[in-house]
Amino acid sequence: MSARILALVPLAVALNVVIGQLTAALGLPVFLDTIGTVLATGLAGPAVGITTGLVSQAVAALQIGQHMLAFAPIQVLIALVAWAAAGAGGFRSLPRAVGWGLLTGLVAGVPSAVISYYVFQGVTSPGPTAVTTLLVGLGLSRAEAVGVASVGLDLLDKAITFALVGAALRGLPRRLAARFPRGAAAAGR
C-alpha cells in the first residue's frame, strides 16, 4: 500500500460521506455518495477505487449500521465501470461523462434494487423509500416500485456524479495532473 493510497483513500471516502451535505443544502433528490469512489478510480485506478468503495461501506457500517455492508458489492461494481470509463476516455467531455454515468446508474441500480427489495423489504434511505412508497400508493407492486425508484434515482445520481468528476479531472491544475497521470489521461489531457 503506497503513501499515495493512504493519503487519497481517506479523502475520497470522506467525499462520499460529505458531498451529501451539499446536495441536502440544495434540496436535490440525489446523494452522490459514490463520487469519491469514481474520483479515486479515475485518479489512481481500479484497486484504489475498490478500496475507497469498501472503506466507504465500512465507515458507513460504523456510522449508520452494519447493514450498510450489504451494499459493498455495488461500490465495487461502480469502481469497475468507472475504470472502464477512464480507459475509454469517458471523462473527456460532459456528454461522454453523463453517458458513462447513465450506464453506471443502470449497472448499479439493478443489483441495488434487488438488495433493497430482498434484504431491506424496500425500506432503505428516506429519498428512494419515499419514491417507492409514492409508487406503491399509485398502484405499482412493491417489487416494481423498488425497481423503478432505485434505478431511476441511480441513473440521475450517477450521471451527476460522473459529470462532476469529469469536470474535476479536466480542471486539474497542471501540477496535480502531473502527480495523477491516470486522471489526466482519463480526461484526455
Binding site: A7, L22, A25, L26, F120, T133, G137, P173
Partner: protein
C-alpha cells in the same frame, strides 16, 4: 463504554454478532427480543448518546416500514387509530424495524466509544499490518475536516451571490460551484498528505511497535466468546431447523 474501557476489538465483535443475530433469528420475535437486549445493554453499560445518534437514522426507517408494509402491505385488514392496517405487513414492519433498530443502535454505540489511537495500537500489538486500520482511522478523522470545508464553501459561494433555491435545474447548476472546489481541494490535500506520509515512511506495510497496547482482559475474551457462541448457535438453529441441543 462506561467504566474501564473494553479492548477496541470487543465492541466491534459484539456489534458484528448483533448484526449476524438480527439476520439469523426468526422475525418478528427474534429481532424484537434482540432489540430489547441491545437497548438494555446500551442503557446499562453503553454510551447513552448512542440513542440520540441512532434516533434520526431509525425513525424514518420505522415510519416508512409502517406506511409501506403496515398500511400498504398484505394481509387481513385491522382497523385501528382511524386507519386500516394490514396484519402480515405489520408483522413484516415489526420484524424488519426491530432488526435494523438493533443493528443501528449497536453500531452507533460502538462509534460513540471508538478510540482511534487504541484501535491502531491494538492492531500493532497483534502484529497486523496497519494499512486497513489506518485507512479507517484516517477516514474517520478526515470526515469532520471535509465537512467544515463543505460548509465554508457553501457560505462563501452564497456571499458571492450563489442562489441555492429555485427550480431543480437551477439548483442542479449550483452544484458545480459547490462540488468542484470540494473535489479539487480534496485532490490537492491528498497530494500534500501523500508527500507527508512518504516522508515519514508510512506505507501501511511496516510493523509498528504499540506504545500503549490496550489490555485484553478476561472480560473481553469472555464477551467475544459469548458473542461467537450465540452466532454459531443461531446459525445451527437456522441450518438444522431446530434449537441446538
Amino acid at each position: 463504554m462506561s467504566g474501564t474501557p473494553l479492548h477496541p476489538y470487543t465492541p466491534l465483535a459484539l456489534a458484528g454478532a448483533v448484526t449476524a443475530l438480527a439476520v439469523l433469528l426468526p422475525a418478528p420475535a427474534g429481532p424484537v427480543v434482540l432489540l430489547g437486549l441491545v437497548i438494555a445493554a446500551v442503557a446499562g453499560a453503553g454510551p447513552r448518546g448512542a440513542f440520540r445518534d441512532a434516533a434520526p437514522v431509525v425513525a424514518p426507517i420505522w415510519l416508512f416500514l409502517l406506511i409501506l408494509h403496515g398500511l400498504l402491505g398484505d394481509g387481513a385488514p385491522i382497523p385501528a387509530l382511524g386507519l386500516t392496517w394490514r396484519a402480515d405487513g405489520l408483522r413484516t414492519a415489526l420484524g424488519q424495524g426491530a432488526r435494523l433498530g438493533a443493528i443501528i443502535l449497536a453500531s452507533t454505540a460502538v462509534l460513540r466509544g471508538f478510540r482511534p489511537a487504541a484501535f491502531l495500537d491494538a492492531a500493532a500489538a497483534r502484529g497486523r499490518p496497519l494499512g486497513p486500520a489506518l485507512l479507517v482511522v484516517a477516514t474517520i478523522e478526515a470526515i469532520p475536516r471535509l465537512r467544515r470545508r463543505a460548509a465554508s464553501i457553501l457560505a462563501a459561494q452564497r456571499v458571492r451571490g450563489l442562489s441555492v433555491a429555485g427550480s431543480p435545474v437551477r439548483r442542479l447548476r449550483a452544484l458545480v460551484p459547490l462540488g468542484l472546489p470540494l473535489l479539487l481541494g480534496a485532490i490537492a490535500e491528498a497530494d500534500d498528505r501523500a508527500l507527508t506520509c512518504a516522508a515519514r515512511g508510512l506505507d501501511g506495510t511496516a510493523r509498528r511497535t504499540a506504545l500503549e497496547p490496550p489490555a485484553d482482559r478476561p472480560t473481553d475474551r469472555i464477551l467475544r466468546a459469548l458473542a461467537l457462541a450465540a452466532v454459531v448457535a443461531a446459525l445451527a438453529w437456522r441450518l438444522l431447523g431446530r434449537p441446538p441441543a
